[in-house]
Symmetry: C2
Subunit: 331 residues, 2 copies
Amino acid sequence: MKKVSLKVIARELGVSAATVSLVLNGKNKNGRVSEEMSKKIIDKAAELNYIPNSLAKGLKMGHSKSIGLIVADISNVFFGTLALHIQNYAESEGYTVIIGNTNEKLAQMEKIIFFLNSRQVDGLIITPAEGSDELIQSILEIKKPLVLVDRGFPDLDVSSVLINNYEICFRATKQLIDQGYKNSAFIGYKQNQFHTNERKRGFVEAMKEAALFTPDQVKEVSYQSLEEDMDEVISQLLKCAQKVEAIFFATNTISMAGVKSLLKRGVLIQKDIQVMCFDETDAINLFPFRVPFIKQPIEEMARKALELLIEQIEKKEVKNHKLFLEAELIS
Amino acid sequence: MKKVSLKVIARELGVSAATVSLVLNGKNKNGRVSEEMSKKIIDKAAELNYIPNSLAKGLKMGHSKSIGLIVADISNVFFGTLALHIQNYAESEGYTVIIGNTNEKLAQMEKIIFFLNSRQVDGLIITPAEGSDELIQSILEIKKPLVLVDRGFPDLDVSSVLINNYEICFRATKQLIDQGYKNSAFIGYKQNQFHTNERKRGFVEAMKEAALFTPDQVKEVSYQSLEEDMDEVISQLLKCAQKVEAIFFATNTISMAGVKSLLKRGVLIQKDIQVMCFDETDAINLFPFRVPFIKQPIEEMARKALELLIEQIEKKEVKNHKLFLEAELIS
DNA sequence: AATTTTTAATTAATCGTTTAACTTACTATT
DNA sequence: AATAGTAAGTTAAACGATTAATTAAAAATT
């Protein structure tokens, strides 16, 4: 069973490969190829089950009609959902998506970028790992179309689709305060990324404004030992002299681990302690009552990121926009 | 900033592109290229930040060193985890993975296969959608390396990595019976796929063996309207004359929806009703007590699927194995 | 000194497509 | 009858990399 190329179709019909290419790409304008031959070619292609070789096409055309999506971990439901929407939208625009996982490692991210570039992706959508600003800078330098999503670098002039982390966390905290939860804690990752810092800042500023802030309200857990750290932090909070009334979890994975740790100790959510989660997770969906959470517009993030990227790719100019989409406070 | 190709490196050093290719691919055995020139070439490649064009390489070599992974929905954590492991293992073998979502639609699956083939993937790993046996057959006919995972077609002679669905469900049901839950229900999807039928059969046979089976113990929900159907089914079960003592959920998404629906009605899991879940989900991880579930060896499935695929690709012969891995009953 | 062997490269074809430029045979116009 | 115009193709180079076959010079062997 030989591979079916343009040449094979051409030979079978006694025409040149060029003619076949013209017809199959709909470029037989102003009398390039006769109606009759066009039909023959189209029929023969279907008969032989012709599949165009996009490696050859990409090589010739200088673009691959594919984009790279780099996330931390595709098994995390936030990234999975983002990927799903990006793929769906990309497909409708004629692009394929190749996904890479960094596992939050800089070295891994570097490897993936090389890999994707060698595969000639036309552009990249990245949720950058901590400390990857120089790497991002180097992508900008080779003028490869690029959009950051979810996380950005304020100092870098690069297209980004972000959310209003500070403001939404400020509002969420304020709401807790207004509802009477005076002594709250905030649990975030032990890292130094702009977007998570902003979330923390939202919490801190709201507490300060109400003159309720003390530094020990902010706790950190590490990505690698999430469950253990969480158990430690939660038990610290529970045996505090001044009773903790609410806990603000800074990400979806933290929310999950946090709620789990609370339940393990027999703490009743909303009765003993109120929680505020970032992202809608199964953890809070299961309760027979509403648990307040911050909902990110994931689908819109995906769409905007792709729009910005395709604009860069097709207009060939790197115009940088930073978009701040609005997250929603659901309670 | 011109693109850096082999030719560019060659020109800068006054040698031919062939020499550069030889060196950069480590093929300068038995005195093809001098040590001196080798070093120069390697240094220059690094200096110019050379990135090989894998479209060109793939075109020439006849393989792309990439594989296609087709799943139902990458935002589903089961598929996300599968994808993560497949990617990790593929990477260590020098392959890229391109993921496609079928959304359980046959037409979509057909489109994706065409797409991936045009991108010259060297092989495919597929979780086939319902009714896709003919489509799978057509892939076999063009002798494209192929491995099915999670779901298989018993009548098709195709490499597959599956689990012992019947046996593990039989055992799980038997365990429920042994623990005293005499009147159980089984909730699965309204579809006709071999792997889910096997799960149902496991339940039914175990109940029959204990002379506890009645046909109305088996309920069905549809994928498209899961939550509504689940609420309907659960309320049916709750107002049954004969009290339902345990519910067996046939997949991870069903488990999630089922537990949620029960909690919404104030039913206490394990106190009022025992549950048995397929897959470990957040739904059951959150309880402060152990909820029994069936654990699939996802990482091993990923590894075996890739092993079988790469074997096919590299040995060029399509030797079909059907692997049945063992799921584990955790309680 | 003549011949063989080894070393260090180069040449040229090829993978499958695309497309600008060209050709050839008709038809229409003056 | 000579010229222009159109219809329906073909030719050939190019994209970037690989590799079998070849070449040319230097070193080793007789």
